[in-house]
Amino acid sequence: MDLNMDLNAPHSMGTTIIGVTYNGGVVLGADSRTSTGMYVANRASDKITQLTDNVYVCRSGSAADSQLVSDYVRYFLHQHTIQLGQPATVKVAANLIRLISYNNKNMLETGLIVGGWDKYEGGKIYGIPLGGTLIEQPFAIGGSGSSYLYGFFDQAWKEGMTKDEAEQLVVKAVSLAIARDGASGGVVRTVVINSEGVTRNFYPGDKLQLWHEELEPQNSLLDILNSPSPEPMNI
């Protein structure tokens, strides 16, 4: 093991991020690991960031870059909402993100998934990968963990799911990616956005389903030392 860990390496979010549309809205999901090289700088980070009341973004890649881009877009969208007199559309939010990503492509390293609900188009997901392309998709995956999910989604995705089906799909997918990708881990966070509003959910890492070859967690014998019950070895 490399004992000379580079603790000053830029914080990167190895990450698994997902955005899925369903019949009536969208579900966004992400893991929670932020790494500095091999060191997990934050094991419970929140990668799903609010842009407006009805639009959220999943961030991957450089933590700093993605945070800055989100902050700028939140600022522009706020002004836009005031001028327009009504909530911004998901498309406008995605376009603003795209303009910043594309025009600064030489300096930024961030892949984003914008998802939300507006009264004109309903639930929409837009993927904005590294170079600054803008692509509207029924579902989008991103981050290092997404490599392990392409085949899974090809098989498991279907049009017109219910809210619960969609959320279960997202949790399952992030959980699968966490199992295989070293740069993803921690907990699974989801955000559901529809006409009624926004709901945040949290799935602790140790409560996730175990996949092939994963072992059941075992209690350590050291627990005997810490237990309040009577000493097992009485002399």
Partner: protein, 249 residues
């Protein structure tokens, strides 16, 4: 209703003792002296028409367009000083394109009207600028349906079902109020607008005029365009017949 504002009308940055800015009111006079411009909001779109007074027989018919497309989904009809109108149209086009580039969707008509109104108002704030001498009727079709706005030289902008500016505006407004706009389609609206313009045209004072019309409706696929030629001819014929029937009384 007009009064001479002696002494208080030399600059657009001067108020009169009774709280009026005379330069802006004089700018509105320039609009009142131009040919009539009408806009109506039908149930499926907007129709706009202009009474283009022909200054000379040498002018080519179809030239001196008074209705301009600002973006695919919206257009503007201008009354008053034509050159001033060109400036405003150029500004509106530029606002619309920039909005589309920045936000990725066509500019909402409400937003466009506000920007045009802001720009017109801007020119009433500084002594080194003069107010625009034109009134604008702006019609567009966006996600919230068809909308009609009117912008005056003062920078005021309101949303309307029917609006008229220019020489025959009083008579035109009376005629528009008689129409049942919420039930009318744009096809029918084109005929009605033509009839109104022919009716309010003053044969005694102004000689010839050319009718220019445009629409943006479901039939035009929500694009702003000139009314198709055969419909325009049909409208002109209907208008002429209606006039003759009136004269025959």
């Amino acid at each position: 209703m007009s009064s001479i504002g002696t002494g208080y009308d030399l600059s657009v940055t001067t108020f009169s003792p009774d709280g009026r800015v005379f330069q802006i009111e004089y700018a509105a006079k320039a609009v009142d002296n131009s040919g009539t411009v009408i806009g109506i909001k039908c149930k499926d779109g907007i129709v706009m028409g202009v009474e283009k007074l022909i200054a000379s027989k040498m002018i080519l018919p179809g030239s001196n367009r008074r209705i301009h497309s600002v973006h695919r989904h919206s257009g503007m009809a201008v009354a008053g000083l034509a050159a001033d109108g060109r400036q405003i149209v150029a500004r509106a086009k530029s606002e619309a394109t920039n909005y589309q580039s920045g936000y990725g969707e066509p500019i909402p008509v409400k937003e466009l009207a506000e920007r045009v109104a802001s720009y017109v108002h801007l020119c009433t704030l500084y002594w080194w600028l003069r107010p625009f001498g034109c009134g604008i009727i702006l019609g567009g079709y966006d996600r919230d349906g068809p909308q009609l706005y009117m912008v005056e030289p003062s920078g005021i902008s309101y949303r309307y079902f029917g609006a008229a500016i220019g020489k025959g505006k009083q008579a035109a407004k009376t005629e528009i109020e008689k129409l049942n706009l919420s039930e009318m389609t744009c096809r029918e609206g084109v005929i009605e607008v033509a009839k109104i313009i022919y009716k309010v045209h003053d044969e005694a004072k102004d000689k010839a005029f050319e009718l220019e019309m445009s629409w943006v409706c479901d039939e035009s696929k929500q694009q702003h365009q000139k009314v198709p030629d055969e419909l325009l001819e049909e409208a002109k014929a209907a208008a002429r017949t209606a006039l003759e029937e009136m004269d025959a009384d």
